[in-house]
Point group: C2
Chain length 208, copies 2
Protein backbone atom coordinates (compact mmCIF):
# COMPACT_ATOMS: atom_id res chain seq x y z
CA UNK A 1 0.00 0.00 0.00
CA UNK A 2 2.97 2.23 0.63
CA UNK A 3 4.19 1.37 -2.83
CA UNK A 4 0.85 2.30 -4.33
CA UNK A 5 1.09 5.78 -2.83
CA UNK A 6 4.69 6.17 -3.96
CA UNK A 7 3.90 5.12 -7.52
CA UNK A 8 0.86 7.41 -7.58
CA UNK A 9 2.96 10.38 -6.48
CA UNK A 10 5.49 9.51 -9.16
CA UNK A 11 2.81 9.52 -11.84
CA UNK A 12 1.51 12.87 -10.62
CA UNK A 13 4.99 14.40 -10.49
CA UNK A 14 5.74 13.50 -14.09
CA UNK A 15 2.32 13.62 -15.77
CA UNK A 16 0.11 15.68 -13.48
CA UNK A 17 -2.83 14.81 -11.27
CA UNK A 18 -5.25 14.59 -14.18
CA UNK A 19 -3.25 11.68 -15.55
CA UNK A 20 -3.61 9.72 -12.32
CA UNK A 21 -6.36 7.31 -13.27
CA UNK A 22 -6.79 3.94 -11.69
CA UNK A 23 -5.85 2.33 -14.98
CA UNK A 24 -2.75 4.46 -15.41
CA UNK A 25 -1.67 3.77 -11.84
CA UNK A 26 -2.33 0.05 -12.27
CA UNK A 27 -0.28 0.05 -15.43
CA UNK A 28 2.62 1.69 -13.63
CA UNK A 29 2.42 -1.15 -11.11
CA UNK A 30 2.24 -3.80 -13.87
CA UNK A 31 -1.22 -5.00 -12.95
CA UNK A 32 -4.89 -4.38 -13.68
CA UNK A 33 -7.12 -1.72 -12.20
CA UNK A 34 -9.10 -4.18 -10.09
CA UNK A 35 -6.04 -5.10 -8.06
CA UNK A 36 -5.76 -1.58 -6.69
CA UNK A 37 -8.96 -2.04 -4.73
CA UNK A 38 -7.22 -4.57 -2.53
CA UNK A 39 -5.03 -1.77 -1.17
CA UNK A 40 -7.30 1.24 -1.53
CA UNK A 41 -11.00 1.61 -0.86
CA UNK A 42 -11.69 4.37 -3.32
CA UNK A 43 -10.10 6.96 -5.52
CA UNK A 44 -11.17 9.43 -2.85
CA UNK A 45 -9.37 7.26 -0.33
CA UNK A 46 -6.29 7.26 -2.52
CA UNK A 47 -6.48 11.05 -2.66
CA UNK A 48 -6.56 11.22 1.12
CA UNK A 49 -3.54 8.96 1.36
CA UNK A 50 -1.68 11.14 -1.13
CA UNK A 51 -2.43 14.35 0.75
CA UNK A 52 -1.50 12.62 3.99
CA UNK A 53 1.86 11.61 2.55
CA UNK A 54 2.36 15.16 1.32
CA UNK A 55 1.64 16.62 4.73
CA UNK A 56 3.85 14.03 6.41
CA UNK A 57 6.85 15.45 4.59
CA UNK A 58 6.29 18.96 5.95
CA UNK A 59 8.73 20.03 8.61
CA UNK A 60 7.24 21.78 11.64
CA UNK A 61 9.52 24.36 13.23
CA UNK A 62 9.91 24.81 16.99
CA UNK A 63 7.72 27.84 17.76
CA UNK A 64 9.71 31.01 18.41
CA UNK A 65 7.40 33.78 19.64
CA UNK A 66 9.41 36.60 18.04
CA UNK A 67 9.49 34.96 14.62
CA UNK A 68 5.93 33.71 14.35
CA UNK A 69 5.25 35.60 11.11
CA UNK A 70 8.21 34.14 9.29
CA UNK A 71 7.45 30.72 10.69
CA UNK A 72 3.82 30.64 9.58
CA UNK A 73 4.60 32.01 6.14
CA UNK A 74 7.41 29.48 5.93
CA UNK A 75 4.89 26.72 6.54
CA UNK A 76 2.69 28.06 3.76
CA UNK A 77 5.65 28.22 1.39
CA UNK A 78 6.49 24.63 2.26
CA UNK A 79 2.94 23.56 1.45
CA UNK A 80 2.93 25.60 -1.74
CA UNK A 81 6.14 24.01 -3.00
CA UNK A 82 4.91 20.56 -2.05
CA UNK A 83 1.64 21.11 -3.91
CA UNK A 84 3.42 22.46 -6.98
CA UNK A 85 5.83 19.56 -6.97
CA UNK A 86 2.81 17.36 -7.71
CA UNK A 87 0.84 19.49 -10.18
CA UNK A 88 -2.92 19.48 -9.70
CA UNK A 89 -2.90 17.54 -6.46
CA UNK A 90 -4.28 20.56 -4.64
CA UNK A 91 -7.59 19.72 -6.26
CA UNK A 92 -7.68 16.64 -4.06
CA UNK A 93 -6.72 18.72 -1.03
CA UNK A 94 -9.64 21.10 -1.58
CA UNK A 95 -12.16 18.28 -1.83
CA UNK A 96 -11.09 16.56 1.38
CA UNK A 97 -12.42 16.36 4.89
CA UNK A 98 -9.87 17.64 7.44
CA UNK A 99 -9.95 14.35 9.30
CA UNK A 100 -6.56 13.03 8.29
CA UNK A 101 -4.08 12.73 11.17
CA UNK A 102 -1.22 14.15 9.10
CA UNK A 103 -3.24 17.25 8.30
CA UNK A 104 -4.07 17.56 11.97
CA UNK A 105 -0.34 17.40 12.66
CA UNK A 106 0.28 20.35 10.34
CA UNK A 107 -2.67 22.23 11.76
CA UNK A 108 -1.39 21.61 15.28
CA UNK A 109 2.03 22.92 14.28
CA UNK A 110 0.66 26.12 12.81
CA UNK A 111 -1.60 26.61 15.79
CA UNK A 112 1.42 26.29 18.06
CA UNK A 113 3.26 28.96 16.07
CA UNK A 114 0.39 31.42 16.10
CA UNK A 115 -0.42 30.92 19.78
CA UNK A 116 3.25 31.38 20.65
CA UNK A 117 3.14 34.60 18.66
CA UNK A 118 0.34 35.89 20.87
CA UNK A 119 -2.51 35.51 18.41
CA UNK A 120 -5.88 34.92 20.04
CA UNK A 121 -7.02 31.28 19.84
CA UNK A 122 -10.14 32.07 17.84
CA UNK A 123 -8.26 34.22 15.33
CA UNK A 124 -5.51 31.63 15.07
CA UNK A 125 -7.95 28.81 14.37
CA UNK A 126 -9.78 30.65 11.63
CA UNK A 127 -6.58 32.06 10.16
CA UNK A 128 -5.10 28.59 9.76
CA UNK A 129 -8.20 27.51 7.90
CA UNK A 130 -8.04 30.54 5.64
CA UNK A 131 -4.33 30.14 4.94
CA UNK A 132 -4.57 26.45 4.07
CA UNK A 133 -7.55 27.16 1.83
CA UNK A 134 -5.77 29.97 0.03
CA UNK A 135 -2.58 27.99 -0.51
CA UNK A 136 -4.50 25.10 -2.03
CA UNK A 137 -6.54 27.38 -4.27
CA UNK A 138 -3.46 29.30 -5.40
CA UNK A 139 -1.65 26.11 -6.35
CA UNK A 140 -4.71 24.73 -8.11
CA UNK A 141 -4.94 27.88 -10.23
CA UNK A 142 -1.28 27.63 -11.20
CA UNK A 143 -1.56 23.94 -12.02
CA UNK A 144 -4.65 24.49 -14.17
CA UNK A 145 -2.86 27.22 -16.11
CA UNK A 146 0.19 25.04 -16.66
CA UNK A 147 -2.03 22.16 -17.74
CA UNK A 148 -3.65 24.42 -20.33
CA UNK A 149 -0.26 25.24 -21.76
CA UNK A 150 0.40 21.55 -22.34
CA UNK A 151 -3.01 20.40 -23.55
CA UNK A 152 -4.53 23.17 -25.61
CA UNK A 153 -3.11 25.05 -28.50
CA UNK A 154 -0.56 27.60 -27.45
CA UNK A 155 -2.53 30.49 -28.93
CA UNK A 156 -5.46 29.85 -26.64
CA UNK A 157 -3.34 30.52 -23.59
CA UNK A 158 -1.95 34.00 -23.18
CA UNK A 159 1.27 35.00 -21.48
CA UNK A 160 1.64 38.04 -19.28
CA UNK A 161 2.59 40.47 -22.03
CA UNK A 162 -0.25 39.37 -24.27
CA UNK A 163 -2.71 39.66 -21.38
CA UNK A 164 -1.53 43.18 -20.58
CA UNK A 165 -1.88 44.13 -24.25
CA UNK A 166 -5.43 42.82 -24.29
CA UNK A 167 -6.35 44.68 -21.12
CA UNK A 168 -4.95 47.91 -22.55
CA UNK A 169 -6.92 47.38 -25.73
CA UNK A 170 -10.24 47.25 -23.88
CA UNK A 171 -12.71 50.12 -24.39
CA UNK A 172 -11.51 52.82 -22.01
CA UNK A 173 -14.98 54.22 -21.31
CA UNK A 174 -16.34 50.99 -19.83
CA UNK A 175 -13.04 49.75 -18.31
CA UNK A 176 -11.25 52.94 -17.26
CA UNK A 177 -9.31 51.50 -14.31
CA UNK A 178 -8.52 48.19 -15.98
CA UNK A 179 -6.96 49.87 -19.01
CA UNK A 180 -5.07 52.40 -16.91
CA UNK A 181 -3.66 49.84 -14.47
CA UNK A 182 -3.14 46.93 -16.83
CA UNK A 183 0.49 46.88 -15.80
CA UNK A 184 -0.33 46.39 -12.12
CA UNK A 185 -3.05 43.84 -12.86
CA UNK A 186 -0.64 41.65 -14.77
CA UNK A 187 2.41 42.36 -12.59
CA UNK A 188 4.16 39.84 -10.40
CA UNK A 189 6.88 37.40 -11.30
CA UNK A 190 7.22 34.07 -9.56
CA UNK A 191 5.26 34.00 -6.34
CA UNK A 192 4.93 37.75 -5.75
CA UNK A 193 1.14 37.48 -5.67
CA UNK A 194 1.41 34.61 -3.22
CA UNK A 195 3.73 36.52 -0.94
CA UNK A 196 1.50 39.56 -1.10
CA UNK A 197 -1.63 37.69 -0.03
CA UNK A 198 0.20 35.88 2.73
CA UNK A 199 1.58 39.10 4.21
CA UNK A 200 -1.87 40.66 3.80
CA UNK A 201 -3.45 37.99 5.99
CA UNK A 202 -0.60 37.75 8.47
CA UNK A 203 -0.42 41.53 8.86
CA UNK A 204 -4.15 41.63 9.40
CA UNK A 205 -3.69 38.96 12.04
CA UNK A 206 -0.96 40.95 13.79
CA UNK A 207 -3.08 44.12 13.98
CA UNK A 208 -5.83 42.39 15.90
Amino acid sequence: MEQVVDTALGVIATEGYEALTMRRLAGALDTGPASLYAHVVNKADLDELLIGRLCAELRLPEPEPAAWREQVSGMCVQMRDQYLKYPGISRAALAMAPTDPEILRVSEGMLAILLAGGVAPQSASWAIDALLLYVAAYCLEISVLDQRKVHDEADWVVDTDELQRRLTALPAETFPHTTRHAAELTAGKGHDRFDFTLSLMIDGLAHR
Copy 2:
Protein backbone atom coordinates in the same frame (compact mmCIF):
# COMPACT_ATOMS: atom_id res chain seq x y z
CA MET B 1 -27.88 29.22 -26.63
CA GLU B 2 -29.28 31.45 -23.96
CA GLN B 3 -31.76 28.72 -23.16
CA VAL B 4 -28.96 26.18 -22.83
CA VAL B 5 -27.27 28.31 -20.17
CA ASP B 6 -30.55 28.88 -18.35
CA THR B 7 -31.39 25.18 -18.30
CA ALA B 8 -27.86 24.32 -17.15
CA LEU B 9 -28.12 26.75 -14.25
CA GLY B 10 -31.47 25.25 -13.36
CA VAL B 11 -29.98 21.77 -13.24
CA ILE B 12 -27.10 22.98 -11.06
CA ALA B 13 -29.44 24.83 -8.72
CA THR B 14 -31.55 21.76 -8.05
CA GLU B 15 -29.07 18.88 -8.39
CA GLY B 16 -25.63 20.43 -8.02
CA TYR B 17 -22.79 21.00 -10.44
CA GLU B 18 -21.69 17.37 -10.38
CA ALA B 19 -25.04 16.39 -11.89
CA LEU B 20 -24.53 18.73 -14.84
CA THR B 21 -23.46 16.27 -17.50
CA MET B 22 -23.99 16.81 -21.18
CA ARG B 23 -26.50 13.97 -21.17
CA ARG B 24 -28.41 15.31 -18.19
CA LEU B 25 -28.51 18.78 -19.72
CA ALA B 26 -29.60 17.39 -23.07
CA GLY B 27 -32.32 15.41 -21.32
CA ALA B 28 -33.58 18.55 -19.64
CA LEU B 29 -33.82 20.11 -23.09
CA ASP B 30 -35.63 17.06 -24.54
CA THR B 31 -32.88 16.18 -26.96
CA GLY B 32 -29.68 14.16 -27.30
CA PRO B 33 -26.21 15.08 -26.09
CA ALA B 34 -24.88 15.66 -29.61
CA SER B 35 -27.27 18.54 -30.19
CA LEU B 36 -25.64 20.60 -27.47
CA TYR B 37 -22.48 20.90 -29.52
CA ALA B 38 -24.35 23.06 -32.01
CA HIS B 39 -24.64 25.76 -29.34
CA VAL B 40 -21.56 25.09 -27.20
CA VAL B 41 -18.03 24.25 -28.24
CA ASN B 42 -17.04 22.32 -25.14
CA LYS B 43 -18.02 21.55 -21.62
CA ALA B 44 -15.26 23.97 -20.65
CA ASP B 45 -16.92 26.52 -22.90
CA LEU B 46 -20.24 25.85 -21.21
CA ASP B 47 -18.57 26.38 -17.84
CA GLU B 48 -17.27 29.75 -18.99
CA LEU B 49 -20.72 30.76 -20.16
CA LEU B 50 -22.18 29.74 -16.80
CA ILE B 51 -19.65 31.74 -14.83
CA GLY B 52 -20.17 34.65 -17.19
CA ARG B 53 -23.89 34.56 -16.57
CA LEU B 54 -23.28 34.36 -12.84
CA CYS B 55 -21.01 37.41 -12.90
CA ALA B 56 -23.45 39.29 -15.11
CA GLU B 57 -26.02 39.18 -12.32
CA LEU B 58 -23.70 40.83 -9.82
CA ARG B 59 -24.55 44.42 -9.02
CA LEU B 60 -21.62 46.85 -8.95
CA PRO B 61 -22.07 49.72 -6.51
CA GLU B 62 -21.08 53.29 -7.25
CA PRO B 63 -17.72 53.69 -5.47
CA GLU B 64 -17.95 55.73 -2.27
CA PRO B 65 -14.45 56.44 -0.92
CA ALA B 66 -15.52 56.40 2.73
CA ALA B 67 -17.30 53.06 2.46
CA TRP B 68 -14.82 51.11 0.38
CA ARG B 69 -14.45 48.33 2.94
CA GLU B 70 -18.15 47.64 3.16
CA GLN B 71 -18.47 47.88 -0.59
CA VAL B 72 -15.71 45.42 -1.38
CA SER B 73 -16.85 42.94 1.24
CA GLY B 74 -20.37 43.39 -0.09
CA MET B 75 -19.14 42.35 -3.51
CA CYS B 76 -17.54 39.25 -2.05
CA VAL B 77 -20.74 38.37 -0.21
CA GLN B 78 -22.67 38.77 -3.45
CA MET B 79 -20.30 36.40 -5.20
CA ARG B 80 -20.43 33.95 -2.32
CA ASP B 81 -24.21 33.83 -2.34
CA GLN B 82 -24.29 33.50 -6.09
CA TYR B 83 -21.81 30.61 -5.96
CA LEU B 84 -23.72 28.88 -3.20
CA LYS B 85 -26.98 29.30 -5.06
CA TYR B 86 -25.49 26.97 -7.67
CA PRO B 87 -23.67 24.40 -5.53
CA GLY B 88 -20.31 23.27 -6.84
CA ILE B 89 -20.14 25.77 -9.67
CA SER B 90 -17.16 27.44 -8.01
CA ARG B 91 -15.13 24.46 -9.22
CA ALA B 92 -15.65 25.76 -12.73
CA ALA B 93 -14.71 29.27 -11.61
CA LEU B 94 -11.40 28.07 -10.19
CA ALA B 95 -10.46 26.24 -13.39
CA MET B 96 -11.09 29.18 -15.67
CA ALA B 97 -8.97 31.73 -17.46
CA PRO B 98 -9.86 35.29 -16.37
CA THR B 99 -10.57 36.27 -19.97
CA ASP B 100 -14.33 36.49 -19.78
CA PRO B 101 -15.72 40.04 -20.26
CA GLU B 102 -18.22 39.63 -17.45
CA ILE B 103 -15.47 38.71 -15.02
CA LEU B 104 -13.51 41.71 -16.23
CA ARG B 105 -16.56 43.82 -15.49
CA VAL B 106 -16.61 42.57 -11.88
CA SER B 107 -12.88 43.01 -11.58
CA GLU B 108 -13.16 46.55 -12.93
CA GLY B 109 -15.88 47.32 -10.39
CA MET B 110 -13.85 46.07 -7.46
CA LEU B 111 -10.78 47.91 -8.73
CA ALA B 112 -12.83 51.10 -8.86
CA ILE B 113 -13.94 50.62 -5.25
CA LEU B 114 -10.44 49.96 -3.94
CA LEU B 115 -8.84 52.81 -5.87
CA ALA B 116 -11.54 55.18 -4.67
CA GLY B 117 -10.74 54.01 -1.15
CA GLY B 118 -7.14 55.10 -1.58
CA VAL B 119 -5.59 51.67 -1.94
CA ALA B 120 -2.42 51.62 -4.05
CA PRO B 121 -3.00 50.27 -7.56
CA GLN B 122 -0.60 47.37 -7.12
CA SER B 123 -2.09 46.31 -3.80
CA ALA B 124 -5.59 46.68 -5.17
CA SER B 125 -4.84 44.50 -8.19
CA TRP B 126 -3.37 41.71 -6.18
CA ALA B 127 -5.99 41.97 -3.45
CA ILE B 128 -8.80 41.53 -5.97
CA ASP B 129 -7.14 38.40 -7.24
CA ALA B 130 -6.71 37.04 -3.72
CA LEU B 131 -10.28 37.86 -2.71
CA LEU B 132 -11.85 36.25 -5.78
CA LEU B 133 -9.68 33.18 -5.29
CA TYR B 134 -10.61 32.85 -1.63
CA VAL B 135 -14.33 33.27 -2.26
CA ALA B 136 -14.31 30.57 -4.92
CA ALA B 137 -12.31 28.19 -2.73
CA TYR B 138 -14.52 28.82 0.29
CA CYS B 139 -17.67 28.08 -1.68
CA LEU B 140 -16.12 25.00 -3.24
CA GLU B 141 -15.29 23.63 0.20
CA ILE B 142 -18.84 24.21 1.42
CA SER B 143 -20.35 22.63 -1.67
CA VAL B 144 -18.13 19.58 -1.39
CA LEU B 145 -19.13 19.12 2.23
CA ASP B 146 -22.82 19.45 1.41
CA GLN B 147 -22.40 17.00 -1.45
CA ARG B 148 -20.88 14.50 0.91
CA LYS B 149 -23.90 14.77 3.18
CA VAL B 150 -26.16 13.79 0.30
CA HIS B 151 -24.09 11.08 -1.33
CA ASP B 152 -22.26 9.18 1.37
CA GLU B 153 -23.61 7.55 4.44
CA ALA B 154 -24.40 10.05 7.15
CA ASP B 155 -21.99 8.52 9.63
CA TRP B 156 -19.01 9.23 7.40
CA VAL B 157 -19.65 12.96 7.61
CA VAL B 158 -19.27 14.56 11.00
CA ASP B 159 -21.12 17.58 12.26
CA THR B 160 -19.53 20.31 14.35
CA ASP B 161 -20.21 18.73 17.73
CA GLU B 162 -18.89 15.36 16.65
CA LEU B 163 -15.77 16.97 15.19
CA GLN B 164 -15.12 18.87 18.40
CA ARG B 165 -15.54 15.67 20.38
CA ARG B 166 -13.04 13.90 18.17
CA LEU B 167 -10.52 16.72 18.46
CA THR B 168 -10.83 16.67 22.23
CA ALA B 169 -10.31 12.92 22.24
CA LEU B 170 -6.94 13.20 20.50
CA PRO B 171 -3.79 12.31 22.48
CA ALA B 172 -3.01 15.47 24.43
CA GLU B 173 0.76 14.96 24.40
CA THR B 174 1.07 15.09 20.60
CA PHE B 175 -1.81 17.52 19.99
CA PRO B 176 -1.74 19.82 23.02
CA HIS B 177 -3.11 22.94 21.33
CA THR B 178 -5.65 21.14 19.18
CA THR B 179 -7.22 19.41 22.18
CA ARG B 180 -7.17 22.55 24.29
CA HIS B 181 -8.71 24.78 21.62
CA ALA B 182 -11.05 22.30 20.00
CA ALA B 183 -13.89 24.70 20.69
CA GLU B 184 -12.27 27.54 18.76
CA LEU B 185 -11.20 25.25 15.92
CA THR B 186 -14.75 24.10 15.36
CA ALA B 187 -16.43 27.42 16.16
CA GLY B 188 -18.30 29.58 13.70
CA LYS B 189 -21.91 29.41 12.64
CA GLY B 190 -23.02 30.41 9.18
CA HIS B 191 -20.40 32.47 7.44
CA ASP B 192 -18.40 33.61 10.47
CA ARG B 193 -15.23 32.08 9.06
CA PHE B 194 -15.88 33.80 5.75
CA ASP B 195 -16.42 37.19 7.38
CA PHE B 196 -13.29 36.72 9.47
CA THR B 197 -11.04 36.03 6.49
CA LEU B 198 -12.52 38.88 4.51
CA SER B 199 -11.94 41.40 7.29
CA LEU B 200 -8.47 39.93 7.76
CA MET B 201 -7.53 40.71 4.19
CA ILE B 202 -9.34 44.03 4.00
CA ASP B 203 -7.83 45.22 7.28
CA GLY B 204 -4.41 44.21 6.06
CA LEU B 205 -5.10 46.21 2.94
CA ALA B 206 -6.11 49.28 4.94
CA HIS B 207 -2.94 49.20 7.07
CA ARG B 208 -0.70 49.47 4.02
